[in-house]
């Protein structure tokens, strides 16, 4: 055993102390206490937001969104962000973003659909995160769906996706990673649209097969989504600013 030396580190004598730069930083435990709560009612659906629950990641958010159809049902989603951390492989002048989605309790969504959700969310946030600021790094987003509303369908993909977009944005803000705008999504029937710049730019559009809105004009659908987007965005900004002022 003696001739297998660990070349990666030198531990030094047993009483060696690690290099410490500053002790004035806030201890990790306080993170949990300082996590602020917010429950904001926005008309027909209420959102509950909490930030910084996951202690070992760079930023996290927890969302509870009440279902449109059933008051007792809601979507519970935990988002955590790790990074920017060094990426492996070829040189990349920009950061690479990856999104992982997982149902942590009951698995109801098919694997193919989960992949589709991940690709959709990656596309949306590739346009939103200021990737140029983080060369040679990877940013990993992990979504844990704790509960999803079971209305008429087994699961409501559109409300899950809306919660995902909002949750990721809040987690990015919590992590202090640069994003171009407080991006949020709005839904109408079975359509989801993600907007930025106060609704003047669309960064993502998701449409599911559905008889209810198939006859409607796509522009009208986007307009309807925008209404929901604006209330969501307002809620998120109110939460962020209130949370920030309370922590100062």
């Amino acid at each position: 055993m003696l001739n297998t030396t660990d070349r990666r580190r030198i531990l030094g004598p047993a009483n060696a102390k690690p290099l410490v730069f500053d002790r004035s930083s806030v201890p990790v435990e306080e993170n949990q206490e300082s996590a602020k709560k917010s429950s904001v009612s926005t008309g027909n659906d209420a959102i509950y937001i909490e930030n910084g629950i996951v202690v070992n990641c760079n930023g996290s958010s927890y969302l509870e969104v009440r279902s449109r159809t059933n008051d007792k049902n809601c979507t519970l989603l935990l988002t955590s962000i790790y990074g920017p951390r060094p990426s492996r492989g070829a040189f990349n002048a920009k950061a690479t973003l990856s999104v992982q989605f997982k149902e942590v309790t009951l698995e109801k969504i098919a694997a193919g659909q989960i992949k589709e959700i991940c690709t959709f969310l990656t596309n949306v946030f590739n346009a939103v995160v200021n990737l140029e600021r983080y060369p040679k790094s990877g940013i990993d987003v992990f979504l844990s769906l704790i509960h999803s509303s079971s209305g008429q369908q087994d699961f409501e993909l559109e409300s899950i996706i809306t919660a995902c977009v909002n949750g990721i944005t809040l987690a990015f803000v919590d992590a202090g990673i640069e994003i171009l705008d407080t991006v949020s999504a709005g839904m109408y029937k079975r359509n989801v649209t993600a907007f930025m710049k106060n609704g003047t730019e669309v960064v993502g559009f998701w449409k599911d097969d559905d008889e209810q809105s198939s006859s409607e004009n796509i522009l009208e659908i986007v307009e309807k989504c925008k209404e929901h987007y604006l209330t969501n965005r307002k809620t998120m900004i109110e939460f962020m600013v209130r949370n920030k002022n309370a922590s100062d």
Partner: protein, 298 residues
């Protein structure tokens, strides 16, 4: 009222802060132009207002808005240099300071352009000398980093980056052969501020770098022996010369103020050593000397 004088509430991502430039005071002889440059936490975005496209600065993180006036860097002249060389008495220094101030005022009137760097930062981090915000201060060309040697070979030393000096102050002396770079005053690292990487080194999550043998020192580059310059475990102050390849930054210590800052004797088993000249370190309790490429400590 100019944008930089306004009082801003807490900024959130996507909040519009100010235009890229505006017109300031106007007198008969000149028109002041105020330019805003995006800094950390701010980006320059295109917006459409009433069908007309315009650029504006937007916040990208949650925090307080700050405007920092950029002092225009003046090219040192022969006169300035001779002034530095002279050993000036206190009263004379005061006098010259007064003269300099006057000169600056003159320059201010000649140049109608003012430049402000706009930043948005978390107030909990701002103003602290050591920040944990390594994520928003990733190493780039020219940054000074503190790194730990992880592995050496005859051609190169592999390092992992521990911290980044994120605020550099124009140099007054101690600049080596690389010319007019920016370092902390006197070349020491103590006056600079640091962003410390929180990544766990054991998990391999730190940014890696390479110091190749030709970048160790500025003279006699082809006779460098890595073994006589660095040992695994040494803490090195180095400058990023390029972003390198996919896995490694390329670093250099070819400057007086760069090189080993902390080292233990006997491959890490002994005590901390002190630099006695630029290529020797001594262990104070045993008196043994080892060779290193040392950073100028003051």
């Amino acid at each position: 009222m100019a944008f930089h004088a306004k009082n801003y509430p807490v900024a959130y991502p996507g909040q519009l802060l100010c235009p890229t430039f505006e017109l300031g005071e106007k007198t008969e002889t000149f028109q002041e132009i105020i330019r805003y440059v995006p800094g950390n936490g701010v980006t320059d975005e295109e917006y459409e207002v009433n069908g007309q496209k315009m650029r504006a600065l937007t916040a990208t993180v949650l925090g307080e808005v700050r405007f920092l006036e950029q002092v225009l860097q003046t090219v040192p002249t022969d006169e300035d240099q001779s002034k530095d060389e002279k050993d000036i008495g206190a009263s004379k220094a005061e006098l010259e300071q007064g003269k300099e101030e006057q000169e600056e005022e003159d320059k201010g009137e000649d140049n109608p352009e003012k430049v402000f760097i706009v930043t948005v930062a978390d107030s909990n981090l701002a103003g602290k000398h050591v920040t944990e915000d390594f994520a928003n201060n990733l190493p780039r060309e020219g940054s000074i980093v503190l790194a730990r040697i992880t592995r050496i070979s005859s051609q190169r030393a592999n390092v992992e980056i521990l911290a980044l000096e994120n605020k550099t102050i124009p140099v007054d002396s101690g600049v080596g052969s690389n010319g007019a770079g920016v370092t902390a005053p006197g070349g020491g690292s103590a006056a600079a501020t640091l962003s410390v990487s929180q990544a766990a080194a054991d998990l391999g999550e730190t940014f890696k770098g390479i110091i190749s043998a030709r970048d160790v020192r500025a003279t006699d580059r082809d006779r460098v022996k890595i073994m006589e310059s660095f040992r695994p475990g040494d803490i090195v102050r180095a400058q990023v010369i390029s972003l390198g390849d996919g896995s490694n930054y390329h670093l250099s210590t070819a400057r007086n103020d760069l090189g080993v800052v902390f080292a233990r004797a006997f491959n890490g088993a002994g005590g901390l050593m002190y630099a006695i000249d630029w290529q020797t370190m001594v262990a104070p309790n045993t008196g043994f000397m080892e060779s290193r490429k040392c950073a100028k400590p003051f």
